[in-house]
Symmetry: C2
Subunit: 203 residues, 2 copies
């Protein structure tokens, strides 16, 4: 709920509304954030606004793995030291960051940007599956590791993709249930992610 | 703590840092907010950035009561229907909004923008006390209601100001302890604020 702002100038009201639209931000927090902005110097406030504009302008999907990047091809895809024969499929850019923190994985990634979810009207064509199939069809890929979250939709998405890839003669594995079932890949610690990678099994 | 963002493009990193600088926002929340911005349309993101710039540009202190406004003199100070002989002194613009919600007060306000706090190096000259004294010296004021928060610093500030104003022959009152001691004026409900105004006593 947004607090009654009728006693504040409209420019302040609008800023509070913008902050209140952010995920996990209520009316009181949005008000506190807006007052914080007013206490910044003009330059600091401009830097904040610029950060929004620049992130929107510069950040887009890597043309290969679909992870977020400010280049045409992201550093992981363009790096020569990584194993091109393995692709780890995740649902979210945050999951790539989580996997990289484990320092145990040296292959490539593919970011789906979501999971198949009929409840939320997200079908196979709404996430980056066809881009993955194109890469797998390229011939260099030996193994695809499905690292979607171990929840219902993540499982179903992994299953759906594995059925498309296995006929192409490519090995499809699923990260092991080292990750607590029902939790979120993003919040897993390095050790758990390592065990999950080690214990992966063929689908 | 800000999450390791080394695998994200720098424009995204910068945006996460900006959100993480907001009060009450941790690393994970800042990341979620930044990703939310990336999912906005270009126009929506621009509107967010503009809201920051415009709030900074348009919102400033009322030349009379020091409350935040986008005019030279705020609507309360320029309104003819309000009792100019009473000034309610609060520490924060949010407190004016809280008092107005109670709909029981028809006088004017004065916003100090802080309280005297030696621990935080805030002295009497760092808050809008001299602007208040100027108004009281103007001759129209009959009563000053001290409505700073009922905590140590709010009490000390009320006491300090009352000692400056009483010699001028103006009545100084303190809102009653209807508000639970140690809590925050901003979170008080209308009924409590009403009782606090009614039960005010001379200082």
């Amino acid at each position: 709920m947004i607090e009654d702002m009728s006693n504040f100038p409209s420019a302040l009201e609008k800023l509070v509304e913008q902050f209140a639209s952010l995920p996990g931000v209520g009316g009181k927090s949005a008000q506190r954030m807006a007052f914080y902005i007013l206490r910044l110097s003009d330059n600091e406030a401009k830097a904040f606004a610029d950060a929004i504009i620049q992130a929107k302008k510069q950040v887009h999907r890597c043309s290969v793995c679909q992870n977020l990047t400010d280049r045409a091809v992201c550093p992981i895809c363009s790096g020569s030291k990584r194993d091109v024969s393995v692709i780890c499929v995740v649902s979210d850019p945050k999951d790539v960051a989580a996997m990289e923190r484990s320092r145990e994985y040296n292959g490539h990634y593919h970011v789906l940007h979501g999971v198949i979810s009929p409840m939320n009207h997200v079908g196979p064509d709404d996430i980056a599956i066809k881009e993955l199939l194109k890469r797998v069809n390229g011939g260099e890929v030996r193994e695809v590791i499905m690292a979607t979250n171990p929840d219902t939709e993540g499982e179903a998405t992994a299953m759906y993709i594995s059925r498309l890839i296995k006929p192409l003669g490519v090995k499809v594995t699923r990260i092991a249930y080292g990750i607590p079932v029902g939790s979120n890949l993003e919040f897993a610690d390095e050790a758990t992610l390592f065990r999950a990678l080690e214990g992966r099994r063929e689908m």
